[in-house]
Subunit: 211 residues, 2 copies
DNA sequence: CGGCAGTTTGATGTTACTCAATTTAAGTGG
DNA sequence: CCACTTAAATTGAGTAACATCAAACTGCCG
Protein backbone atom coordinates (compact mmCIF):
# COMPACT_ATOMS: atom_id res chain seq x y z
CA UNK A 1 0.00 0.00 0.00
CA UNK A 2 2.72 2.41 1.05
CA UNK A 3 5.18 2.44 -1.84
CA UNK A 4 8.07 4.17 -0.07
CA UNK A 5 8.36 2.30 3.22
CA UNK A 6 8.13 4.56 6.25
CA UNK A 7 11.04 4.71 8.67
CA UNK A 8 11.16 1.57 10.83
CA UNK A 9 10.32 3.30 14.10
CA UNK A 10 6.94 4.46 12.81
CA UNK A 11 5.45 1.28 11.40
CA UNK A 12 6.86 -1.17 13.89
CA UNK A 13 4.82 -4.19 14.77
CA UNK A 14 3.75 -4.45 18.33
CA UNK A 15 3.04 -7.70 20.09
CA UNK A 16 0.60 -7.68 22.97
CA UNK A 17 -0.30 -10.45 25.34
CA UNK A 18 -3.82 -11.70 25.93
CA UNK A 19 -5.80 -9.53 28.40
CA UNK A 20 -3.35 -6.65 28.12
CA UNK A 21 -4.71 -3.16 27.59
CA UNK A 22 -3.81 -1.76 24.17
CA UNK A 23 -5.50 1.64 24.38
CA UNK A 24 -6.94 3.43 27.40
CA UNK A 25 -9.92 5.73 27.22
CA UNK A 26 -8.93 9.36 27.63
CA UNK A 27 -5.25 8.75 27.00
CA UNK A 28 -3.48 10.24 24.04
CA UNK A 29 -2.69 7.82 21.25
CA UNK A 30 -0.11 8.30 18.55
CA UNK A 31 -2.03 6.97 15.58
CA UNK A 32 -4.26 4.39 14.01
CA UNK A 33 -3.68 0.75 14.93
CA UNK A 34 -4.35 -2.18 12.68
CA UNK A 35 -4.88 -5.60 14.19
CA UNK A 36 -2.66 -7.83 12.10
CA UNK A 37 -3.37 -10.95 14.11
CA UNK A 38 -5.54 -12.00 17.03
CA UNK A 39 -8.75 -10.65 18.51
CA UNK A 40 -9.40 -7.56 20.61
CA UNK A 41 -12.38 -5.72 22.00
CA UNK A 42 -13.26 -2.12 22.71
CA UNK A 43 -15.09 -1.08 25.80
CA UNK A 44 -16.17 1.78 28.00
CA UNK A 45 -15.15 1.56 31.67
CA UNK A 46 -17.90 2.74 34.02
CA UNK A 47 -17.76 4.55 37.32
CA UNK A 48 -19.18 1.55 39.16
CA UNK A 49 -16.28 -0.66 38.07
CA UNK A 50 -18.21 -2.41 35.35
CA UNK A 51 -17.51 -2.13 31.65
CA UNK A 52 -19.56 -2.16 28.46
CA UNK A 53 -17.95 -3.98 25.57
CA UNK A 54 -18.92 -2.11 22.42
CA UNK A 55 -17.18 -3.94 19.67
CA UNK A 56 -15.03 -6.92 18.91
CA UNK A 57 -12.09 -6.34 16.60
CA UNK A 58 -11.33 -9.16 14.18
CA UNK A 59 -7.89 -9.96 12.81
CA UNK A 60 -7.21 -7.65 9.89
CA UNK A 61 -9.51 -4.89 11.05
CA UNK A 62 -8.64 -1.33 11.96
CA UNK A 63 -8.61 -0.88 15.70
CA UNK A 64 -9.39 2.78 16.09
CA UNK A 65 -10.35 4.69 12.95
CA UNK A 66 -11.21 7.60 15.21
CA UNK A 67 -7.56 8.05 16.09
CA UNK A 68 -7.15 9.55 12.63
CA UNK A 69 -8.91 12.69 13.79
CA UNK A 70 -8.86 12.55 17.59
CA UNK A 71 -5.95 12.93 19.94
CA UNK A 72 -7.61 11.21 22.86
CA UNK A 73 -8.91 7.68 22.65
CA UNK A 74 -12.70 7.55 23.01
CA UNK A 75 -12.71 3.92 24.10
CA UNK A 76 -10.42 1.49 25.81
CA UNK A 77 -9.17 -1.53 23.92
CA UNK A 78 -7.97 -4.86 25.27
CA UNK A 79 -6.44 -7.88 23.63
CA UNK A 80 -8.65 -10.97 23.82
CA UNK A 81 -5.96 -13.26 22.52
CA UNK A 82 -2.28 -12.72 21.96
CA UNK A 83 -2.18 -10.02 19.37
CA UNK A 84 0.03 -8.44 16.78
CA UNK A 85 -0.59 -4.92 15.61
CA UNK A 86 0.85 -2.23 13.44
CA UNK A 87 0.74 1.49 14.09
CA UNK A 88 0.27 4.28 11.56
CA UNK A 89 1.11 7.67 13.02
CA UNK A 90 -1.52 10.36 12.90
CA UNK A 91 0.78 12.75 11.07
CA UNK A 92 1.16 10.31 8.18
CA UNK A 93 -2.57 9.58 8.08
CA UNK A 94 -3.46 13.24 8.06
CA UNK A 95 -1.06 13.76 5.22
CA UNK A 96 -3.00 11.23 3.21
CA UNK A 97 -6.29 12.80 4.26
CA UNK A 98 -5.17 16.13 2.89
CA UNK A 99 -3.70 14.63 -0.26
CA UNK A 100 -6.82 12.73 -1.24
CA UNK A 101 -10.27 13.72 -0.03
CA UNK A 102 -11.57 10.24 -0.87
CA UNK A 103 -9.66 8.91 2.11
CA UNK A 104 -11.66 11.15 4.39
CA UNK A 105 -14.83 10.03 2.67
CA UNK A 106 -13.87 6.43 3.32
CA UNK A 107 -13.32 7.28 6.99
CA UNK A 108 -16.78 8.82 7.07
CA UNK A 109 -18.23 5.61 5.67
CA UNK A 110 -16.46 3.55 8.30
CA UNK A 111 -17.77 5.79 11.08
CA UNK A 112 -21.28 5.57 9.67
CA UNK A 113 -21.03 1.78 9.73
CA UNK A 114 -19.76 1.77 13.28
CA UNK A 115 -22.60 4.05 14.30
CA UNK A 116 -25.11 1.62 12.81
CA UNK A 117 -23.48 -1.36 14.49
CA UNK A 118 -23.37 0.32 17.88
CA UNK A 119 -26.99 1.37 17.49
CA UNK A 120 -27.98 -2.20 16.75
CA UNK A 121 -26.09 -3.34 19.82
CA UNK A 122 -27.92 -0.80 21.94
CA UNK A 123 -31.20 -2.03 20.49
CA UNK A 124 -30.34 -5.64 21.20
CA UNK A 125 -29.39 -4.87 24.80
CA UNK A 126 -32.32 -2.59 25.40
CA UNK A 127 -35.10 -4.59 23.80
CA UNK A 128 -34.05 -8.21 23.64
CA UNK A 129 -34.29 -11.11 26.06
CA UNK A 130 -31.04 -12.84 26.99
CA UNK A 131 -31.64 -15.42 24.29
CA UNK A 132 -32.37 -12.79 21.66
CA UNK A 133 -29.27 -10.82 22.59
CA UNK A 134 -27.03 -13.84 22.33
CA UNK A 135 -28.55 -14.92 19.03
CA UNK A 136 -27.98 -11.40 17.75
CA UNK A 137 -24.34 -11.39 18.83
CA UNK A 138 -23.63 -14.76 17.25
CA UNK A 139 -25.25 -13.77 13.98
CA UNK A 140 -23.54 -10.39 13.94
CA UNK A 141 -20.08 -11.78 14.62
CA UNK A 142 -20.33 -14.75 12.29
CA UNK A 143 -21.48 -12.47 9.47
CA UNK A 144 -18.45 -10.28 10.01
CA UNK A 145 -16.14 -13.26 10.13
CA UNK A 146 -17.67 -14.74 7.01
CA UNK A 147 -17.24 -11.45 5.18
CA UNK A 148 -13.46 -11.69 5.54
CA UNK A 149 -13.13 -15.38 4.81
CA UNK A 150 -13.30 -17.42 1.64
CA UNK A 151 -14.57 -20.53 3.39
CA UNK A 152 -18.34 -20.74 3.42
CA UNK A 153 -19.37 -23.28 5.98
CA UNK A 154 -21.04 -22.76 9.32
CA UNK A 155 -17.95 -23.14 11.48
CA UNK A 156 -16.27 -20.07 12.91
CA UNK A 157 -13.28 -19.31 15.08
CA UNK A 158 -14.84 -17.90 18.24
CA UNK A 159 -12.40 -16.90 20.98
CA UNK A 160 -14.95 -15.08 23.17
CA UNK A 161 -15.21 -16.24 26.74
CA UNK A 162 -18.53 -16.05 28.53
CA UNK A 163 -17.45 -12.98 30.42
CA UNK A 164 -16.97 -11.14 27.12
CA UNK A 165 -20.41 -12.10 25.87
CA UNK A 166 -21.78 -11.03 29.24
CA UNK A 167 -20.06 -7.64 29.23
CA UNK A 168 -21.13 -6.99 25.65
CA UNK A 169 -24.77 -7.86 26.21
CA UNK A 170 -25.44 -6.63 29.73
CA UNK A 171 -25.75 -10.10 31.26
CA UNK A 172 -23.84 -12.06 33.88
CA UNK A 173 -21.46 -14.83 32.84
CA UNK A 174 -23.58 -17.30 34.79
CA UNK A 175 -26.67 -16.44 32.80
CA UNK A 176 -24.75 -16.49 29.54
CA UNK A 177 -23.66 -19.99 30.43
CA UNK A 178 -27.23 -21.15 31.00
CA UNK A 179 -28.57 -19.66 27.79
CA UNK A 180 -25.67 -20.94 25.71
CA UNK A 181 -26.25 -24.36 27.22
CA UNK A 182 -29.91 -24.19 26.22
CA UNK A 183 -28.99 -23.25 22.66
CA UNK A 184 -26.53 -26.10 22.51
CA UNK A 185 -28.93 -28.63 23.99
CA UNK A 186 -31.50 -27.59 21.40
CA UNK A 187 -28.87 -28.16 18.70
CA UNK A 188 -29.05 -24.56 17.51
CA UNK A 189 -25.31 -24.03 17.85
CA UNK A 190 -22.36 -25.94 19.18
CA UNK A 191 -19.26 -24.45 20.76
CA UNK A 192 -16.08 -26.28 21.65
CA UNK A 193 -12.39 -25.59 21.51
CA UNK A 194 -13.02 -22.00 20.55
CA UNK A 195 -14.92 -23.05 17.44
CA UNK A 196 -18.55 -22.17 17.07
CA UNK A 197 -20.78 -24.04 14.66
CA UNK A 198 -24.22 -22.93 13.61
CA UNK A 199 -26.34 -26.07 13.44
CA UNK A 200 -29.73 -24.48 12.80
CA UNK A 201 -29.38 -21.10 11.19
CA UNK A 202 -33.09 -20.85 10.51
CA UNK A 203 -33.88 -21.15 14.20
CA UNK A 204 -31.10 -18.78 15.22
CA UNK A 205 -32.40 -16.12 12.87
CA UNK A 206 -35.93 -16.68 14.10
CA UNK A 207 -34.70 -15.94 17.61
CA UNK A 208 -32.66 -12.92 16.52
CA UNK A 209 -34.05 -9.43 16.41
CA UNK A 210 -33.67 -8.49 12.77
CA UNK A 211 -34.82 -10.09 9.57
CA UNK B 1 -25.72 31.33 6.14
CA UNK B 2 -26.49 30.80 2.50
CA UNK B 3 -25.91 34.19 0.86
CA UNK B 4 -27.72 33.57 -2.43
CA UNK B 5 -31.05 32.05 -1.33
CA UNK B 6 -31.72 28.66 -2.89
CA UNK B 7 -34.79 28.15 -5.06
CA UNK B 8 -37.93 27.93 -2.94
CA UNK B 9 -38.73 24.31 -3.75
CA UNK B 10 -35.46 23.10 -2.27
CA UNK B 11 -35.38 24.80 1.10
CA UNK B 12 -39.08 24.69 1.89
CA UNK B 13 -40.07 24.40 5.51
CA UNK B 14 -42.04 21.34 6.45
CA UNK B 15 -44.44 21.22 9.32
CA UNK B 16 -45.04 17.87 10.96
CA UNK B 17 -47.54 16.98 13.64
CA UNK B 18 -46.62 15.39 16.94
CA UNK B 19 -46.15 11.58 16.71
CA UNK B 20 -45.88 11.67 12.93
CA UNK B 21 -43.07 9.75 11.27
CA UNK B 22 -40.56 12.04 9.61
CA UNK B 23 -38.10 9.49 8.23
CA UNK B 24 -38.49 5.73 7.92
CA UNK B 25 -35.59 3.33 8.24
CA UNK B 26 -34.61 1.83 4.92
CA UNK B 27 -36.49 4.40 2.87
CA UNK B 28 -34.73 6.75 0.54
CA UNK B 29 -34.45 10.32 1.78
CA UNK B 30 -33.77 13.38 -0.32
CA UNK B 31 -31.38 15.21 1.92
CA UNK B 32 -30.38 16.46 5.31
CA UNK B 33 -33.11 17.75 7.61
CA UNK B 34 -32.65 20.43 10.21
CA UNK B 35 -35.08 20.63 13.08
CA UNK B 36 -35.98 24.31 13.22
CA UNK B 37 -38.49 23.93 16.00
CA UNK B 38 -39.81 21.18 18.25
CA UNK B 39 -38.38 17.88 19.44
CA UNK B 40 -37.95 14.58 17.63
CA UNK B 41 -36.35 11.23 18.31
CA UNK B 42 -34.58 8.62 16.24
CA UNK B 43 -35.17 4.93 16.75
CA UNK B 44 -34.66 1.47 15.40
CA UNK B 45 -37.81 -0.61 14.92
CA UNK B 46 -37.31 -4.25 15.92
CA UNK B 47 -38.73 -7.46 14.50
CA UNK B 48 -40.71 -8.12 17.68
CA UNK B 49 -42.64 -4.86 17.34
CA UNK B 50 -40.59 -3.01 19.93
CA UNK B 51 -38.33 -0.09 19.23
CA UNK B 52 -35.06 1.27 20.59
CA UNK B 53 -34.88 5.03 20.83
CA UNK B 54 -31.29 6.01 20.08
CA UNK B 55 -31.27 9.74 20.22
CA UNK B 56 -33.40 12.75 20.95
CA UNK B 57 -33.16 15.64 18.51
CA UNK B 58 -33.32 19.09 20.06
CA UNK B 59 -34.65 22.16 18.33
CA UNK B 60 -31.91 23.59 16.13
CA UNK B 61 -30.07 20.32 15.66
CA UNK B 62 -29.42 18.44 12.45
CA UNK B 63 -31.75 15.50 12.14
CA UNK B 64 -29.76 13.14 9.99
CA UNK B 65 -26.18 14.10 9.20
CA UNK B 66 -25.80 10.66 7.66
CA UNK B 67 -28.18 11.61 4.87
CA UNK B 68 -25.31 13.69 3.45
CA UNK B 69 -23.59 10.49 2.34
CA UNK B 70 -26.28 7.79 2.45
CA UNK B 71 -29.28 7.33 0.19
CA UNK B 72 -31.19 5.15 2.60
CA UNK B 73 -32.08 6.26 6.09
CA UNK B 74 -30.33 4.18 8.76
CA UNK B 75 -32.85 5.07 11.44
CA UNK B 76 -36.46 6.06 11.70
CA UNK B 77 -37.35 9.47 13.07
CA UNK B 78 -40.56 10.62 14.72
CA UNK B 79 -41.77 13.99 15.89
CA UNK B 80 -42.21 14.18 19.65
CA UNK B 81 -43.91 17.54 19.52
CA UNK B 82 -45.28 19.52 16.63
CA UNK B 83 -42.24 20.21 14.57
CA UNK B 84 -40.91 22.49 11.89
CA UNK B 85 -38.05 21.42 9.70
CA UNK B 86 -36.02 22.48 6.74
CA UNK B 87 -34.57 20.23 4.08
CA UNK B 88 -31.22 20.56 2.32
CA UNK B 89 -31.00 18.35 -0.72
CA UNK B 90 -28.16 15.90 -0.93
CA UNK B 91 -26.98 17.29 -4.26
CA UNK B 92 -26.44 20.73 -2.73
CA UNK B 93 -24.71 19.29 0.31
CA UNK B 94 -22.39 17.18 -1.76
CA UNK B 95 -21.52 20.21 -3.81
CA UNK B 96 -20.36 21.92 -0.64
CA UNK B 97 -18.50 18.79 0.43
CA UNK B 98 -16.53 18.82 -2.79
CA UNK B 99 -15.96 22.57 -2.71
CA UNK B 100 -14.53 22.62 0.81
CA UNK B 101 -12.95 19.57 2.43
CA UNK B 102 -13.41 21.14 5.86
CA UNK B 103 -17.13 20.51 5.55
CA UNK B 104 -16.48 16.79 5.28
CA UNK B 105 -14.13 17.00 8.23
CA UNK B 106 -16.88 18.66 10.21
CA UNK B 107 -19.24 15.85 9.24
CA UNK B 108 -16.67 13.36 10.45
CA UNK B 109 -16.50 15.15 13.78
CA UNK B 110 -20.27 15.03 14.10
CA UNK B 111 -20.33 11.32 13.38
CA UNK B 112 -17.57 10.70 15.90
CA UNK B 113 -19.62 12.54 18.51
CA UNK B 114 -22.72 10.55 17.68
CA UNK B 115 -20.75 7.34 17.95
CA UNK B 116 -19.56 8.32 21.40
CA UNK B 117 -23.06 9.26 22.52
CA UNK B 118 -24.59 6.05 21.23
CA UNK B 119 -21.83 4.06 22.90
CA UNK B 120 -22.53 5.77 26.19
CA UNK B 121 -26.21 4.98 25.79
CA UNK B 122 -25.40 1.32 25.17
CA UNK B 123 -23.22 1.34 28.28
CA UNK B 124 -25.96 2.91 30.36
CA UNK B 125 -28.53 0.39 29.19
CA UNK B 126 -26.19 -2.55 29.50
CA UNK B 127 -24.58 -1.83 32.83
CA UNK B 128 -26.84 0.48 34.78
CA UNK B 129 -29.76 -0.08 37.11
CA UNK B 130 -33.03 1.63 36.21
CA UNK B 131 -32.14 4.52 38.48
CA UNK B 132 -28.66 4.87 37.01
CA UNK B 133 -30.01 4.82 33.47
CA UNK B 134 -32.56 7.51 34.19
CA UNK B 135 -30.02 9.69 35.97
CA UNK B 136 -27.74 9.27 32.98
CA UNK B 137 -30.45 10.29 30.53
CA UNK B 138 -31.43 13.35 32.51
CA UNK B 139 -27.83 14.51 32.84
CA UNK B 140 -27.09 13.82 29.19
CA UNK B 141 -30.12 15.67 27.90
CA UNK B 142 -29.88 18.63 30.22
CA UNK B 143 -26.21 19.09 29.30
CA UNK B 144 -27.14 19.18 25.64
CA UNK B 145 -29.96 21.61 26.28
CA UNK B 146 -27.73 23.84 28.39
CA UNK B 147 -25.10 23.86 25.64
CA UNK B 148 -27.52 25.59 23.26
CA UNK B 149 -29.03 28.00 25.74
CA UNK B 150 -27.82 31.19 27.33
CA UNK B 151 -29.83 30.70 30.49
CA UNK B 152 -27.91 28.91 33.19
CA UNK B 153 -30.32 27.69 35.80
CA UNK B 154 -31.40 24.18 36.57
CA UNK B 155 -34.75 24.28 34.79
CA UNK B 156 -35.12 22.64 31.42
CA UNK B 157 -37.86 22.17 28.86
CA UNK B 158 -38.45 18.43 28.90
CA UNK B 159 -41.15 17.15 26.55
CA UNK B 160 -40.35 13.44 26.95
CA UNK B 161 -43.23 11.17 27.93
CA UNK B 162 -42.50 8.20 30.15
CA UNK B 163 -42.84 5.89 27.17
CA UNK B 164 -39.97 7.72 25.45
CA UNK B 165 -37.72 7.37 28.45
CA UNK B 166 -38.72 3.72 28.65
CA UNK B 167 -38.00 3.00 24.98
CA UNK B 168 -34.67 4.80 25.18
CA UNK B 169 -33.49 2.98 28.30
CA UNK B 170 -34.91 -0.50 27.89
CA UNK B 171 -37.48 -0.16 30.67
CA UNK B 172 -41.26 -0.23 30.87
CA UNK B 173 -43.22 3.00 31.28
CA UNK B 174 -44.58 1.69 34.56
CA UNK B 175 -41.12 1.21 35.98
CA UNK B 176 -39.99 4.59 34.68
CA UNK B 177 -42.90 6.09 36.55
CA UNK B 178 -41.89 4.45 39.83
CA UNK B 179 -38.24 5.44 39.58
CA UNK B 180 -39.06 9.01 38.55
CA UNK B 181 -41.45 9.19 41.47
CA UNK B 182 -38.69 8.03 43.82
CA UNK B 183 -36.31 10.65 42.46
CA UNK B 184 -38.95 13.32 42.91
CA UNK B 185 -39.88 12.20 46.42
CA UNK B 186 -36.20 12.35 47.33
CA UNK B 187 -36.12 15.89 45.93
CA UNK B 188 -33.44 15.05 43.40
CA UNK B 189 -35.45 16.38 40.48
CA UNK B 190 -38.91 17.75 39.91
CA UNK B 191 -40.94 17.43 36.75
CA UNK B 192 -44.17 19.19 35.99
CA UNK B 193 -45.78 20.82 32.99
CA UNK B 194 -43.03 19.54 30.73
CA UNK B 195 -40.38 21.37 32.75
CA UNK B 196 -37.71 19.43 34.54
CA UNK B 197 -35.79 20.96 37.40
CA UNK B 198 -32.65 19.53 38.89
CA UNK B 199 -32.92 20.06 42.64
CA UNK B 200 -29.85 18.12 43.74
CA UNK B 201 -27.29 17.90 40.98
CA UNK B 202 -24.68 16.47 43.31
CA UNK B 203 -26.90 13.51 44.10
CA UNK B 204 -27.93 13.02 40.49
CA UNK B 205 -24.32 12.87 39.38
CA UNK B 206 -23.50 10.50 42.20
CA UNK B 207 -26.19 8.16 40.87
CA UNK B 208 -25.10 8.56 37.24
CA UNK B 209 -22.54 6.35 35.60
CA UNK B 210 -19.81 8.76 34.64
CA UNK B 211 -17.80 11.24 36.58
C1' DC C 1 -70.50 15.61 29.86
C1' DG C 2 -67.77 11.77 27.73
C1' DG C 3 -63.57 10.20 25.92
C1' DC C 4 -58.75 9.94 25.16
C1' DA C 5 -53.79 10.05 26.49
C1' DG C 6 -50.87 9.86 29.99
C1' DT C 7 -49.71 8.88 34.80
C1' DT C 8 -50.04 6.50 39.05
C1' DT C 9 -50.73 2.58 42.10
C1' DG C 10 -51.26 -2.28 43.46
C1' DA C 11 -50.79 -7.24 43.01
C1' DT C 12 -48.50 -10.86 40.98
C1' DG C 13 -45.08 -13.15 37.81
C1' DT C 14 -40.69 -13.96 35.63
C1' DT C 15 -36.21 -13.04 34.15
C1' DA C 16 -31.90 -12.63 35.25
C1' DC C 17 -28.71 -11.71 39.32
C1' DT C 18 -26.08 -13.21 43.43
C1' DC C 19 -23.65 -16.32 46.05
C1' DA C 20 -21.54 -20.56 46.58
C1' DA C 21 -19.93 -24.98 45.30
C1' DT C 22 -18.38 -28.34 41.82
C1' DT C 23 -16.52 -29.76 37.51
C1' DT C 24 -13.81 -29.26 33.58
C1' DA C 25 -10.04 -27.52 30.95
C1' DA C 26 -5.53 -25.56 30.47
C1' DG C 27 -1.12 -24.83 31.86
C1' DT C 28 3.45 -25.60 34.41
C1' DG C 29 7.02 -27.65 36.57
C1' DG C 30 8.78 -31.96 38.09
C1' DC D 1 3.40 -38.62 32.02
C1' DC D 2 1.81 -37.01 36.40
C1' DA D 3 0.92 -33.80 40.43
C1' DC D 4 -0.23 -29.30 41.10
C1' DT D 5 -2.12 -24.66 40.06
C1' DT D 6 -5.14 -21.58 37.94
C1' DA D 7 -8.76 -20.00 34.87
C1' DA D 8 -13.10 -21.01 32.96
C1' DA D 9 -17.47 -23.35 32.63
C1' DT D 10 -21.25 -25.45 34.90
C1' DT D 11 -24.85 -26.30 38.30
C1' DG D 12 -28.00 -25.25 42.20
C1' DA D 13 -30.64 -22.46 45.53
C1' DG D 14 -32.38 -18.21 46.93
C1' DT D 15 -33.44 -13.40 45.75
C1' DA D 16 -33.95 -8.82 43.72
C1' DA D 17 -35.12 -6.07 39.98
C1' DC D 18 -38.01 -5.27 36.70
C1' DA D 19 -42.09 -6.87 33.77
C1' DT D 20 -46.90 -7.73 33.25
C1' DC D 21 -51.62 -7.13 34.06
C1' DA D 22 -55.30 -4.51 35.65
C1' DA D 23 -57.51 -0.68 37.57
C1' DA D 24 -58.08 3.97 39.15
C1' DC D 25 -56.90 8.60 38.56
C1' DT D 26 -55.71 13.16 36.17
C1' DG D 27 -55.85 16.71 32.90
C1' DC D 28 -57.38 18.05 28.58
C1' DC D 29 -60.25 18.63 24.58
C1' DG D 30 -64.21 18.14 21.66
Amino acid sequence: MDQHGSPPHSDAFRRVRRDAEIVSRGHACRGVLVLCDGWAFQYLPLANGRRQILNFVLPGEVLSPLAAVREQAEFSTKAMTDVQLREFRRADIQGKLRADPRVLLALTEVLADKLRETSELAAAIGQGSAEERIAYLILHLTRRIAARSVIRDERYRFPLRQVHIADALGLTPVHVCRVMRLLQNRRVVSLAEGVLEILDRRELERIGLWR
